[in-house]
Assembly symmetry: D2
Homo-oligomer: 251 residues x 4
């Protein structure tokens, strides 16, 4: 109850800073890219070039998807407090929550279950049918826009395969996709968050940290929205559009 | 006043997503790294390999600096709402504000002023003396910990020089450093945010967007803190330490 | 899917603003207190004076509890971005999450279950024993500080009783308290969030909105912390205390 | 540099909690309303009934104004992370920034200047003319919707007068309004934030804390928006409206 709290993340002295045991100046700045550095920081090991390429693919995929709730919130907050760019980004990140990005964690748990099963195909069928009966969507499947297929999914899987990942989680995703199509009776989109769950599990990212990668990536996307807001402001018109578009209703 | 708001960031159709005119699947995912993709997203052009290395150096530098106000806030919020990892990161990012990171913007403005002057050294002296008289610190100078020198500064400048930047802003920083030492009468640290302002101006990042790079980088650092909090929680002890360490005072 | 979104909250014209059908200037400003106005805004009816007194008691109870994670986060963020007071409050509110305030919602659900049962005492016993077996704490019970009793609990219940509430949820809380003591084999604190769940259910506040009252109340508490930070800053010392108090550990 | 940080806000023992020297259970819960309690917490003294009525009027005024940037952000974030109601409110509060609510602080500073002048009317004229020449709006004047007059302004001033405030800051606002009309050559709205600055200064609230009252009030308004979102969701349609309403533009 009175333990001294500890950290392994950063040790700093007057003339030296080390991140997880590596000298910031001698081994990290100018020596490794940001993606390798953040992977090392979060997971505790310098990734291989193949792992860097997979994480890059994931981060590039999640960065931007137009005027999402996240981007709209960031722009409106930035317009209201332009003195605090970070507040716009923070507001937008608060939308990276259970409804959208939380599905990655759900997919990852299902894939782990299939990988751990003695008969993966049977496990996939059980999962697909249980969701069908409960009328719940399978996390990682379906998309309100990208139908019948999400163009990001095959590219993400191809990048991971090209880097020689073990493949068990990708195979599990494919088994699950087949089972979902059979249970639903028609083809259902495997969306990008489903594919990301698979490729991040392939390189050992636990489900509970996946949302963290989404947050980092989206932070960059939101800075892009704020940069555009600085150059060609849209937030005021967005506000006007909403204010006019909503109808007042008597109680 | 009733213009249609516009965006150049993202165009999405059923089978295609484009970011600032480039096909997400064909040209970005798996084709460029995250750093190149975010630079393109924010500034509108794919950076050269040298520019990528400079931005990487900046992002790696700003990612982590121990139990900062930002990291403490992120950990305490994560402990309180572990169902919402993004809230922990957002709380921490709100501390990337005027007091610490805002100094980059201040340095950038001074460097621009020196670069634009006919006699840069004289402009640097004027700036250093004006701050001295007003007893205001020159933004980008001084550090509560790294004295007499910040080890990150020479490395950042070396990376930029090795990539062949024009050099005017780095020269301005060096002129300003000389002038500050002369005005103060002793050597003052050129801190990492000062160096970052110089190297980001070298590759055309405007002052008003610099805080955005700090936010992206720190988002990654904070995910690292939350990952550590998941593995070896410290927040509860941090809370206890503060609650016991603060003294109650009668009005 | 393409319905026009609607709101009943606010209708505004050039010379008139109405909130949920009541004229802001003629019926609300200067005519009702803030507590009555917010109750009307959230629940759609002007509360009785007794309901106002109960909501006031709840809001006063939750406002402040010293250097909580919420207050520490707010102070550190405010120190870092004093230009944006709202960011300090927002950071602190992000800590009003599942771990602490979410327990109100859990208690409310249990009380509803007991109230709905034909034999409330038996339902309370079942709940207490099920939590005991699963080694899970009963939400609303126990406190790391206030033992054996939380001084706020009897006062909250007394205020509600004095205002003549129906009493079914308070009776359910008392039945649950008896059952918890019996199941655990010793007296367990009924904490303030447990009492608040009961009194808010007595006046018809649904479980899913209870966290909202905590957020409003805590916003005021956090403004108090920021006001103190303006007058007698503590955040820098809190930061130093944590930075020194945490031990660096080799991987 | 190594001082023990202190607080006067809260002292808590096992059986007793005191807020700024007053016993929470014996003197505050059930004994004073939320408005009086928050005033005491922020400003250090229990307000008079007249001061409570004025603060109530201010809090009721600022609570809600339809689908503002703040409300839109809160709804979109809540839709994205319904598990974390507090995140929706926090996102919305981040929009209570310099652009809108910061004007109160600006007005308060001008009113203080006029009150301190030997010739208030002359000071008001100087201020109005200086803003006119610099083509800057006078903070607290003008409104995009409420023209020629903001209906909230006279009511706020009437409430304050009825409670017998000294009147110097209200007189200063009236002198400034006359001077602004003269400098502009037509009648300019005195908006609600202008009136609030005057009445809060009348009861001794410093400019730097005014934004805090706006934040508390708006927190309640945003909980109202989230309550409506729970009952009759609009956020998904708001998102669709924006996504469709924004035009993609080639670089």
């Amino acid at each position: 109850m009175t333990d001294t709290p500890t950290t392994r993340l950063c040790r700093h002295a007057d003339d030296r800073i080390a991140l997880r045991g590596r000298d910031l100046v001698g081994e990290l700045i100018g020596e490794v890219g940001f993606t390798a550095a953040l992977f090392h920081h979060i997971l505790g090991r310098i990734p291989s070039p193949g792992e860097v390429r997979i994480v890059d693919a994931v981060l590039v995929t999640l960065m931007e998807h137009g005027l999402t709730p996240s981007a709209i919130a960031a722009r409106l907050v930035y317009m209201s407090s332009p003195e605090a760019l970070q507040a716009g980004v923070a507001a937008g990140l608060l939308a990276v929550g259970g409804r959208f990005v939380g599905t990655m964690e759900g997919t990852a748990a299902l894939l782990d279950e299939i990988v751990a099963a003695t008969d993966g195909a049977a496990a996939a069928r059980r999962i697909a049918e249980a969701h069908r009966e409960a009328r719940r969507p399978v996390p990682g499947f379906g998309h309100h826009l990208h139908r019948p297929d999400d163009p990001r999914t095959p590219k993400l899987l191809a990048v991971a395969r090209a880097e020689g990942v073990p493949g068990a989680h990708i195979a599990a995703l494919e088994a699950l996709a087949q089972a979902v199509d059979a249970a639903v009776g028609k083809h259902v989109t495997v969306n990008a968050t489903g594919a990301i769950a698979a490729v991040l599990r392939e390189i050992g990212v636990p489900a509970r940290l996946m949302r963290g990668f989404a947050v980092i990536s989206r932070a960059a996307g939101l800075v892009g929205h704020i940069a555009e807001e600085q150059a060609r402001p849209a937030a005021r018109e967005i506000w006007r559009m909403v204010d006019r578009g909503i109808a007042y209703e008597e109680e």
